[in-house]
């Protein structure tokens, strides 16, 4: 396969996954902002924590002032100049797809093309805070369609592996960032750790990754922070967890290496990162500090991405 094709497939996977996770992150913020405002004037900081989690705090502040719901929609969804907005992700995914149409099935192309045309033709003009919820649902539907299209129609060859390697690198990154939002969201004064607001926040987080039901299924216990963290970091059966994401990255890079008859630096790094997640337990995680643990993961996961590009001459 052409290196450029591999790069385009890898990034197409990343951008679609990123669009989906941005929608999920926005949903966390949106639901959290719907908590009843407390009489004692508790400050609202969901939106700045959202900006911090997506790594866009400074630009957003510079362009739209103090982060709030409207600024977040304007910057994180609609702004075509912000390379991390949903707008830019959908556009970039489609541009990548156009560049590698020969490596895709027509169903994949049509799902991406439809998503882009509908975003540009409809949502870009009409999206307001009032219809944010149906929009976020639309994004999830589009990304599910794309996933269904490639998992149902693509040959299981290198193209499929590169696409998936990108997807799961991005998913690991996003889940870590979503979980890290909880660290940045301060509890309103007077609210205690483990109190009702805290509980609501953890629940929202689980909901955003569609894992509330799974939590109850796995633990059969009330929501506890360390169990939420365990589910999203260490549980391999949870399809958006760090461990699951890395197991996939490891697997797809392994398939590529097999086809090449040699292993690369990226295989080594992926294996290392995945093993760590297999052998860590939740006590270790909290011992080192959840935020620190996640930050370290994001850095190593990024380095893995760079190493993939180097190994295959992107």
């Amino acid at each position: 396969m052409l290196s450029r094709t591999a790069a385009n497939l890898y990034w197409m996977g990343r951008y679609m996954e990123r669009a989906e996770n941005l929608a999920r992150i926005l949903e966390v913020g949106y639901r959290m902002s719907q908590m009843p405002d407390l009489a004692n004037g508790g400050t609202r900081n969901e939106w700045s924590s959202f900006a911090i989690a997506t790594g866009c705090e400074e630009e957003m502040l510079a362009k739209h002032g103090e982060p709030d719901l409207d600024a977040s929609i304007a910057f994180m969804v609609l702004d075509g100049d912000n390379p991390s907005s949903i707008h830019s992700c959908l556009r970039a995914a489609r541009t990548n797809a156009r560049a590698v149409r020969t490596a895709m099935t027509s169903e994949m192309w049509e799902s991406l093309n439809d998503a882009w045309l509908e975003f540009r033709g409809h949502w870009l003009q009409t999206l307001k805070r009032e219809n944010l919820a149906p929009f976020l649902e639309w994004v999830r539907n589009q990304t599910s369609l794309f996933r269904g299209a490639h998992s149902g129609t693509m040959l299981r060859d290198d193209a499929f592996s590169f696409l998936n390697a990108g997807t799961f690198i991005e998913r690991g990154d996003s889940t870590a960032r979503i979980l890290d939002m909880k660290y940045h969201i301060l509890l309103p004064p007077g609210e205690s750790l483990g109190g009702s607001v805290d509980y609501y926040q953890w629940t929202t987080l689980l909901r955003s990754v569609s894992a509330l039901g799974s939590y109850h299924w796995v633990y059969r216990e009330p929501i506890k922070p360390w169990l939420v963290a365990e589910l999203l970091i260490l549980r391999e059966e949870m399809p958006r967890s760090l461990r699951y994401s890395l197991s996939r990255v490891n697997e797809f890079l392994g398939k590529i290496a097999e086809g090449h008859g040699q292993r690369f630096e990226c295989n080594r790094r992926a294996g290392q990162l995945y093993s760590q997640l297999c052998y860590d337990n939740i006590e270790d995680v909290f011992q080192s500090g959840l935020h620190e643990y996640l930050t370290k993961f994001i850095t190593r996961n990024n380095a893995l991405g760079v190493s993939i590009a180097q190994s295959f001459h992107f």
Partner: protein, 491 residues
């Protein structure tokens, strides 16, 4: 059936006779046109548009702002050629393209036709499209134009004219194939009731053609690729389409490199040798070391590999000389000179302003002629005399006087029309036809039909997609079983 009369000229309509009756052979389609309800046709037309947009069959128009990915209007009424008409055209096309290829081989080698004085040497040797870099270079099978798009127009039942020979990188074949695809999806019954000759094997024919011209030293299966300038090119959709249908890599210049006098592509498995390149990049951008030094589209060193015979390029470098509007005048000479045959397809009478008599005539009759730049294409920079006003003609006359050899002129032909479904219903619109002729080292291949382009505006003769023209599905129609004796066909 027609609800609109063309201005002054009464054109030949390919489906409807002046009496309003269908032409012989067109009865069935005419019946369908009358019986299909307008609301159904409108719905199907909208559906066609959605399909084209979804599949992403778009066309980029440069420098006009607006939608950078524009749809080419598609008309749902097919353009029909009877099998007997097509057989004649096919023979004429093959003859013409063979002669063009022999001409190219000749002018880059012995120059016999020039020595014999049958084509003016100056016209060839001093032409910008004639590349001295190609002199004496041998190409596999002596094939230069592997893919030719010959533009034809029709003025009457038996009158077909060649308007232009496209021997460099003719485009539009993807529209021919997708038009058929969309028509079959929208009107399956029409295809059940008509014996329409299939065109689907074109990509396979193209692949076999490219295979046949692999470099002599290539052992094993040659690696074929399609080389595109990238996704901002107006024909990018077509490049992806053809690579996809042939099952070969679509590459850009950055994906290729030259080493040890061979061409390789960069893959995740490391370098892989490339043998045949179907290139959709113009000569001037192929190799920055030989041509434009600042071009980033091409592959440095490609020309050396090519001249060494280690890679085949389709179409061959330097073929533009056969596509020149002045050389066009001499194609009948070529057919006579190389094949000793009479040309089956006619040329349009052409005046070349380099000849003083011709020039004087052209300047006197600007209001009757179409004047074109010898090196122009895409319908840009031409003067349609009868449609221009005195001021435009005067301005154009100045350009012609300034450099007469750059201009040719042709009488305005009364192009045939086809009923076309427009806002008001059916109306006659002018059409042309671009069949695609594939020339391999082994044989000539040709799928029945081609791309029909249609001028969507009433009375307009300009069919180029860059000028708002549309397309139609083109049918070569075999007579229904048992009806063969009706038209007096021989046994």
């Amino acid at each position: 059936m027609s609800e609109e009369t063309t201005d002054s000229i009464v054109s030949f309509d390919e489906i409807v006779l002046p009496s309003g009756q269908p032409r012989p052979g067109m009865e069935q389609i005419a019946e369908w046109m009358v019986s299909a309800s307008r609301s159904l046709l409108k719905a199907r037309q909208a559906e066609a548009e959605t399909l084209f947009r979804r599949i992403g069959i778009t066309f980029a128009v440069y420098g006009e702002g607006g939608d950078p990915e524009r749809l080419i209007p598609f008309d749902i009424v097919p353009r029909i050629l009877l099998a007997s008409e097509w057989d004649f055209l096919a023979r004429g096309l093959e003859q013409r393209v063979r002669a063009l290829n022999m001409f190219l081989n000749d002018v880059y080698h012995d120059g016999e036709i020039l020595a014999a004085g049958r084509v003016p040497a100056k016209l060839v040797l001093q032409n910008k499209a004639y590349l001295p870099e190609m002199r004496g270079v041998s190409v596999p099978g002596n094939v230069y134009t592997h893919i030719a798009g010959i533009d034809l127009v029709r003025t009457g039942p038996e009158e077909f004219y060649v308007l232009e020979d496209n021997t460099r990188t003719p485009s539009g074949v993807s529209y021919m194939l997708q038009n058929r695809e969309v028509m079959m999806r929208l009107f399956p019954d029409l295809f059940n009731n008509h014996a329409v000759a299939p065109v689907e094997r074109y990509p396979e024919d193209l692949f076999e053609t490219l295979h046949s011209v692999a470099p002599a030293g290539c052992d094993g299966d040659p690696t074929v690729v399609v080389l595109s300038p990238g996704l901002y090119n107006s024909a990018y959709y077509e490049h992806t389409f053809l690579a996809d249908k042939m099952g070969v890599e679509l590459v850009e210049g950055q994906d290729l490199f030259v080493k040890n006098n061979f061409v390789f592509m960069r893959t995740t498995h490391g370098p892989q040798k490339v043998d045949v390149i179907y290139r959709r990049i113009d000569d001037a951008f192929l190799d920055p070391l030989t041509f434009h030094p600042d071009s980033i589209l091409g592959v440095p060193g490609l020309m050396n590999v090519y001249r060494a015979g280690n890679v085949s390029l389709a179409n061959a470098v330097g073929g533009g000389i056969a596509d020149d509007k002045a050389i066009y005048m001499y194609v009948p000479e070529m057919i006579d000179f190389y094949l000793g045959e009479k040309p089956l397809l006619k040329n349009v009478d052409t005046f070349w302003c380099d000849k003083p008599d011709d020039c004087a005539y052209v300047l006197d009759h600007l209001d009757e002629l179409v004047v074109k730049e010898v090196a122009g294409s895409g319908g840009y920079g031409m003067l349609v005399g009868p449609k221009a006003d005195a001021k435009e003609r005067a301005a154009y006359a100045e350009r012609v006087k300034a450099s007469p050899s750059e201009f040719i002129a042709q009488p305005t032909l009364s192009l045939s029309t086809c009923p076309t479904f427009v806002a008001e219903g059916y109306a006659p619109r002018h059409v042309d036809l671009r069949p695609f002729v594939l020339v391999g080292a082994d044989k000539v291949r040709l799928v029945p039909g081609g791309l029909t382009r249609v001028a969507m505006r009433a009375g307009s003769l300009v069919v180029n997609s860059s000028q708002g023209g549309g397309t139609k599905d083109t049918w070569v129609l075999n007579p229904p079983v048992g009806a063969a004796d009706e038209g007096g066909a021989d046994a």
